[in-house]
Symmetry: C2
């Protein structure tokens, strides 16, 4: 028996993945200490011990989740670029509809809502995740695009609007809007 104890031996770093997984499944609304603690195999007491207070825990957790999101984006990134902007948008919208991304989508709107209310950590997490997505989108822009940087921003705006409309039952509205845009497949 060396120093490798079989006791849990927890730390922020070991706790965060477990907490993130729980939050991705159940949302930020249900992120109260005791359920979180149970999901991580600890007690609420220990969560406060490691993070100081709940606000700090939420901040750290959101930052961690933003990192996980980035990794998930990388994992889902295709090899070859798109050949048209329209294909590029379609590709990322399809990615957003993948089951693997579903928990992120549900959590995303809670992050936006928290940011709108000025909650600590929410705006930073949202901004970071959008920056990540924007970067990914730029890398996916067609080869000969005349303005890949501006185009990526334009597509991002359209894509996020489409996702939002879909969430409140206006998927059809967004689809018809895209058909009426300069992205229409003709």
């Amino acid at each position: 028996m060396k120093k490798t104890a079989n006791k849990p031996q927890m730390s922020k770093e070991t706790l965060l993945p477990l907490l993130a997984s729980h939050v991705l499944q159940h949302g930020m609304g249900g992120a109260s200490l005791r359920p979180l603690a149970k999901a991580a195999g600890t007690s609420d007491r220990m969560l406060i011990y490691h993070f100081g207070n709940k606000e700090q825990l939420v901040s750290d957790l959101l930052r961690h989740i933003a990192g996980v999101y980035s990794a998930a984006l990388d994992a889902g990134m295709g090899e070859e670029r798109a050949t048209t902007r329209q294909q590029c948008a379609a590709r990322i919208l399809a990615q957003g509809r993948e089951p693997m991304m579903q928990p992120f989508m549900a959590l995303w709107w809670e992050i936006v809502a928290g940011a709108a209310r000025g909650k600590a950590g929410y705006r930073e997490a949202g901004e970071s995740m959008m920056s990540e997505l924007l970067e990914w989108l730029e890398s996916q822009m067609p080869e000969g695009d005349p303005d890949p940087v501006g185009g990526a921003r334009y597509l991002l705006t359209l894509i996020e609007g489409t996702l939002m409309l879909g969430t409140v039952g206006h998927a059809r509205t967004a689809r018809e809007g895209l058909l009426a845009s300069d992205l229409a497949p003709n």
Copy 2:
């Protein structure tokens, strides 16, 4: 003294405006029975009495708020139409930034988040508010627009994406995206 008692004499209809005003200020997260009751000058007991349970209360409240939103839109509607799509989008984005609309904007993302989690009443309220906005937008489309219906849907998608990006600190991204679109003022 006829039958007009000076006692409060509450009902769903008299309660809902008071509840809505509280929720618009403090958000759905703080919409627990006792604060709501205090804001409406009643007790949690009476809220349950009138609405049956909290879920029903939230449903009724969201439907009521969707109606208030519609009225606020009408009140802010300008007389003359826009002359270009770009002006049309700018006008509605400005409207969203008005102080009067601010509580709706903050509440909006909570509605979207609730819709994404399948909470009762949220999707319906979100869908209704978007339909209202779409209708308003159609009425604002330029006179000689070749495709006002599709154009309104296209603008709505862009506008909502812009609002979302602004909420998470990416207002600049959205602005640059619009500049790179076919809406660019040139």
